[in-house]
């Protein structure tokens, strides 16, 4: 094998992806005879051994139900769960641990806000502003509200380049706008939204802003206080943590005024048949036994990425994605969707003459895991005028070898679909 020209030059303090890869057991396998090139991180990320071991250790030594027991194991489990809340709080720089609500995932976080915030603050004729590039999870809950409660859903258009113009969001804001709910980073295109400008525009009118941070938290530093957002949601499984755990960050002023959305055990202050009173947030929003081990796993994942450093992760992934975009540009009749200067590790594209699903199957046979289809963003696909795209999304454990595997797979695709 000849020494290949390096795809990009990493600075001396860059993270060591080859070493980090070894922390992820699932990456060390062959798929259809080829080393796995896992480029579907925007759908879900693989798990480091630190997460798997933290969960196993918890189940083997400290597991019991939380909050209710006076016994030792219940105390340990409660501590582990509440410490995970503090870990999440520090990770996104929330003011207090009470502002972190654990959910089953970002979709549940969004549904919680749609259900609870709307009952407290939305009346018929009030408006919720989103954008055209939202994931279905940030469209459908509002659509249901619109239908059931007469709330008006207003999507801000995307620019021809696949971005969002803060001025176009601002133009939609009226006296009836009660919430702006937008992605921090688009899952389908990788667009980093101008959230600072959007938040500034909303703040001028005292409108709260929710950011869907699913594609941001694992890939860049996130500081909710610096952002000034009122709500921030993300899933654990895209952040190298387990499935079944997610976070809703909500500023205390809002959470305190919001009613429960699910009811049951653990979220009540007292129950009698005359009436029931509810606990303060976050307990108010965590009815029933929560994903305790999930929270432990999420905290381990946060500790793991924090030890690497989010700045270093962002820097490395940007170099990797830029190198990938440059290599992909050499392929005949490739169309990219989304801004070229994305600064996110997501690349969405189509090869003219080859349907995304055929591309996906061929890539799979070459050991490359990519995602194809509408990426749960059908309105966006309709706007782009395509049935779907092929999306590759990088993580810090990806290397130039993964880019080479991707390019080989796409060359193979071009052989079949010239």
């Amino acid at each position: 094998m000849t020494a290949a020209r390096p795809l990009f030059r990493a600075p001396p303090d860059a993270l060591d992806a080859e070493a980090l890869r070894r922390d992820f057991p699932a990456l060390n396998q062959k798929i259809h005879g080829f080393p796995l090139a896992y480029l579907d991180n925007a759908a879900s990320a693989q798990k480091p051994r630190a997460v798997l071991e933290a969960m196993t250790r918890f189940y083997e030594n400290d597991y019991a139900n939380i909050h209710r027991g006076v016994h030792e194991l219940s105390q340990r489990a409660t501590n582990a769960y509440e410490n995970a809340r503090k870990t999440a709080q520090r990770f996104i720089n929330a003011n207090a641990a009470d502002e972190i609500v654990f959910t089953r995932g970002a979709t549940e976080s969004l549904n919680l806000v749609a259900s609870s915030f709307s009952r407290a603050f939305l009346r018929e004729g009030d408006e919720v502003v989103i954008t055209e590039l939202e994931h279905h999870a940030n469209i459908v809950p509002w659509q249901v509200l619109a239908k059931e409660r007469g709330v008006i859903l207003k999507p801000a258009p995307i620019t021809p380049g696949g971005s969002v113009d803060a001025a176009q969001v601002e133009a939609l804001l009226t006296k009836r706008t009660k919430l702006v709910s937008v992605a921090h980073v688009s899952n389908a295109l990788g667009t980093v939204l101008p959230v600072a400008d959007i938040i500034a525009a909303a703040k001028k009118r005292d409108i709260p802003v929710l950011l869907d941070g699913c594609q941001a938290v694992g890939h860049m530093p996130v500081d909710v206080r610096a952002l000034g957002c009122d709500f921030y949601v993300f899933s654990g499984h895209k952040l190298y943590g387990p499935t079944g755990i997610g976070v809703l960050y909500g500023r205390k002023e809002w959470l305190a005024e919001m009613p429960p959305w699910q009811t049951g055990g653990d979220m009540i202050e007292s129950v009698s048949f005359k009436g029931t009173t509810f606990r303060e947030p976050p307990a108010r929003f965590e009815a029933g036994t929560p994903p305790i081990a999930g929270a432990v796993g999420l905290a381990a994942a946060i500790d793991y990425v924090s030890a690497i450093g989010m700045e270093r992760i962002a820097d490395y992934e940007r170099r990797l994605a830029d190198a990938a975009r440059a290599e992909l540009s050499k392929i005949n009749r490739i169309t990219f969707y989304g801004p070229r200067d994305n600064h996110s590790p997501i690349i969405s594209f189509n090869l003219e003459g080859a349907h995304a699903h055929d591309v996906g199957s061929i890539l799979d046979r070459c050991g490359v895991a990519a995602r194809t289809g509408h990426h749960c963003a059908e309105p966006l696909m309709e706007r782009l005028g395509v049935p779907g795209t092929t999306r590759v999304s990088f993580a810090f454990y990806n290397t130039p070898a993964d880019i080479e595997a991707l390019c080989r797979g796409l060359e193979k695709t071009r052989e079949i679909f010239p």
């Binding site: 005879g33 699903h357 079949i416 679909f417």
Partner: protein
């Protein structure tokens, strides 16, 4: 990179040709049966139009409209060529046979319900058996055709092959 023979088996010239240049891809002026097939997760969507004879329920004309991957388009296209002129009962028998091939099961000992070019077309399509996730792409137009054949299925049927084996 190796030859990846199973890719060649699936994406053989016959499939690619039908995928690129689908036959009978048109809205029918006056169908007496039609159904919509939709796999929302992957975005394949086909409407199958049938014109059945008044007396013998023979498929006098069959066409489709839609969009999808090469497998779905090729399967739709080949299906229209295979079914034209067959009775509803024959179409059902061909579908059953094709389904068996796609599932990778041994066809029954009875003679296949198709021969010659039609046999080759089905064999080519059956290459999806090595790509389990893509079987739904190949079978979508067939399930849609089957729904259209059901009496009363004019425009009402909604078919999906997602979540089916």
């Amino acid at each position: 990179m190796s030859a990846l023979p199973e890719l060649r088996d699936l994406y053989q010239e016959l499939i690619l040709d039908h995928g690129r240049h689908p036959r009978n891809l048109r809205k029918m002026a006056a169908p007496n049966r039609e159904a919509l097939g939709n796999n929302p997760l992957c975005g394949d969507r086909v409407t199958v139009y049938l014109h059945l004879g008044d007396h013998d329920k023979r498929i006098e004309d069959v066409s489709f409209e839609g969009q999808g991957c090469a497998i779905c388009m090729a399967s739709s296209s080949m299906m229209t060529e295979i079914l034209k002129g067959r009775t509803a009962a024959e179409a059902q028998a061909v579908f059953d046979y094709f389904h068996t091939l796609c599932a990778g099961e041994e066809p029954s000992a009875a003679a296949p319900p198709v021969a010659g070019d039609d046999f080759e077309r089905l064999q080519a399509l059956a290459g999806v058996r090595d790509f389990p996730i893509r079987v739904k792409c190949a079978t979508l137009p067939w399930h849609t055709m089957q729904a259209a054949l059901c009496p009363g299925g004019l425009g009402l049927s909604r078919v999906s092959t997602e979540g089916k084996s």
